[in-house]
Symmetry: C2
Subunit: 347 residues, 2 copies
């Protein structure tokens, strides 16, 4: 008649998810001991430790994330912060996979934190830090003087940037060597007797804009070629804009005979523009382009490509953040990926 709610603690039904209390009951130990045994604390007897760990494995114990997080503040979350409007498509996909590859056998989860063109890029980062939503952050579209990096450094939250900064501050990053890329591209074109070159730049304001432009300029003077200015577009522009402006450029008398492009999508537009102007790729003009998936050679065999591996970038960035969280020196968590050689189409 007294059907009151079942008291807790006598829950041996095994249906609920096991907690430390479950383990404590099963092993006859205290909750504290179990907790310490699981994390190999030194003050626990060797046999007890083994016993607890065995039982834990047997019943498939997994620490409750909310419990840990509430108590310790550790979220076991890495956040990837992305611009939902300007990020390269394959970048998003590959970098996510690269990150997940690395965190797969860790307790970390990956959350994607978006922001859009209209917002301050600092907003999402501020949100993450203020709400303590992540143990580590990965950002892209890095600027030489990046307020996000500065902010996170101030607040002491581990992060890694895709691309470098130039503020005299040390933090983990992964970057592709765009200086080398632009240089290689120019030298390759020079080797084909192209000596009036134009550059489709990265977005103005991002650090690798500078790297690319410098690599381009330095190599130009090295090989004695000249630049045909093409400052009206960057790879952030729409396909249509790039196409139109390329067509304009290619109709001029002083048109370039070689173009270096910093992204595959832009290259599609550039080629369209070239053809709009009635010119032929490979004959009238050569184009060297970065790409992150193997599609440009399907597009036009005459294209010359350099591969950039975003999946690798994702892995490196994840490793860097985890390393920092794990106490490594930020300065030791920086990596630069060298471009491979310029590849013409091979049957």
């Amino acid at each position: 008649m007294d059907r009151r709610v079942k008291k807790k603690d006598d829950d041996t039904s095994g249906k609920e998810r096991p907690t430390l209390k479950t383990l404590a009951f099963m092993t006859g130990l205290g909750v504290t001991t179990v907790s310490r045994a699981l994390k190999d604390a030194p003050e626990i007897g060797a046999e007890t430790r083994r016993r607890v760990q065995l039982v834990a494995k047997q019943i498939g114990y997994r620490p409750n994330r909310a419990g840990v997080r509430l108590r310790t503040g550790k979220t076991n979350v890495i956040s990837l912060v992305l611009d939902t409007e300007r990020e390269i498509m394959s970048f998003v996909s590959d970098i996510i996979y690269g990150v997940t590859e690395v965190i797969a056998d860790t307790p970390y989860h990956l959350i994607v934190t978006p922001y859009s063109r209209s917002q301050d890029p600092l907003d999402p980062v501020r949100y993450l830090v203020e709400t303590g939503s992540a143990d580590g952050v990965i950002i892209s579209r890095t600027q030489p003087n990046d307020p996000r990096a500065r902010y996170m450094l101030e607040r002491g939250i581990p992060f890694a940037t895709h691309g470098r900064t130039d503020m005299g501050l040390v933090h983990p990053y992964h970057d592709f060597d765009n200086y080398a890329f632009a240089g290689e591209a120019v030298r390759y074109l020079a080797g084909r007797d192209r000596n009036r070159l134009a550059l489709v730049t990265p977005p103005v304001g991002l650090t690798y804009y500078g790297h690319t432009v410098n690599g381009f300029a330095d190599a130009l003077s090295e090989v004695g070629a000249s630049e045909v200015p093409f400052n009206t577009v960057s790879i952030d522009h729409t396909i249509e804009q790039i196409r139109m402006r390329t067509a304009q450029l290619m109709r001029r008398d002083d048109r370039p005979d070689g173009i270096v492009s910093s992204a595959a999508a832009a290259t599609l537009a550039v080629v369209a523009g070239i053809e709009d102007a009635g010119l032929t790729l490979g004959r009238d003009v050569d184009v060297v382009s970065k790409q992150s998936s193997e599609l440009l050679h399907l597009f036009r065999r005459e294209l010359l490509v350099v591969n950039e591996n975003f999946r690798l970038a994702g892995s490196e960035l994840a490793r860097a953040v985890l390393g920092w969280i794990g106490g490594k020196e930020p300065g030791s968590l920086q990596s630069l990926s060298k471009p491979g050689e310029v590849l013409p189409y091979r049957g």
Copy 2:
């Protein structure tokens, strides 16, 4: 001399993140009252409610996720489960952005849960459910008899599938009408006097494989065209495989004069294969392809395209899961996106 650790509760420094206790102290109310006032509970006086909410807004109070999660089990997390090897690149990017668009003004976070070819696709879902890591799940690559959907239905966790199932079970989904797509493609090709048609299918085993194949077959008999079997590839195959097999196909005497392709990347390979065989797109053969970004017309103007909007899919899926979590009927959260018309290139 007695510098013991600062007792809690007298923390008016305002430097720490505010909690309910902070609010309680500031308003002079009890923690319980504050909690209820913030969620508009009816037993709180109108003025008190307003007062609490005002103060909360002023000091930027945000509920601690770990606290809520521990107490209620609510994670405020949606998980997107992805195959890290076979998912279409633009799919990943766009669907993520679609989802984040919808959850942007909710307390939800998006976590990406990956699995790879070698694993059972059920693994990640089981993990999510068993560890209670998400309030809702979105899966793709849906099968007619999908163990993941069945499992989640059994366990009572809200989810939505990209693509339909066919198990007689009701659950939210969003799907593109691939039956209609294949039909439209066939009819369009028939209108151009193409009547020996081949189909580059979706991955065998996924639900939309069946839809596509049926739409193709039904339209074929409707217009009196015939099928050139091309069962050796699907869009899951590599670029190289598709290219090679297309070339083989196109070298045969009974080659098709029209091809319908279910994905843009496959289409690039198909076109390469066609050209490998010495044929010309638009003259010897027409190709109708689905695409999710506007690049096929840059690739070859002769291509005929139908657009599929993955960003929309992401939004719809997110809306569906949130709807289910919010108590709506799963049956009312299903949507089907009709394909637009077949588009030839327009200068």
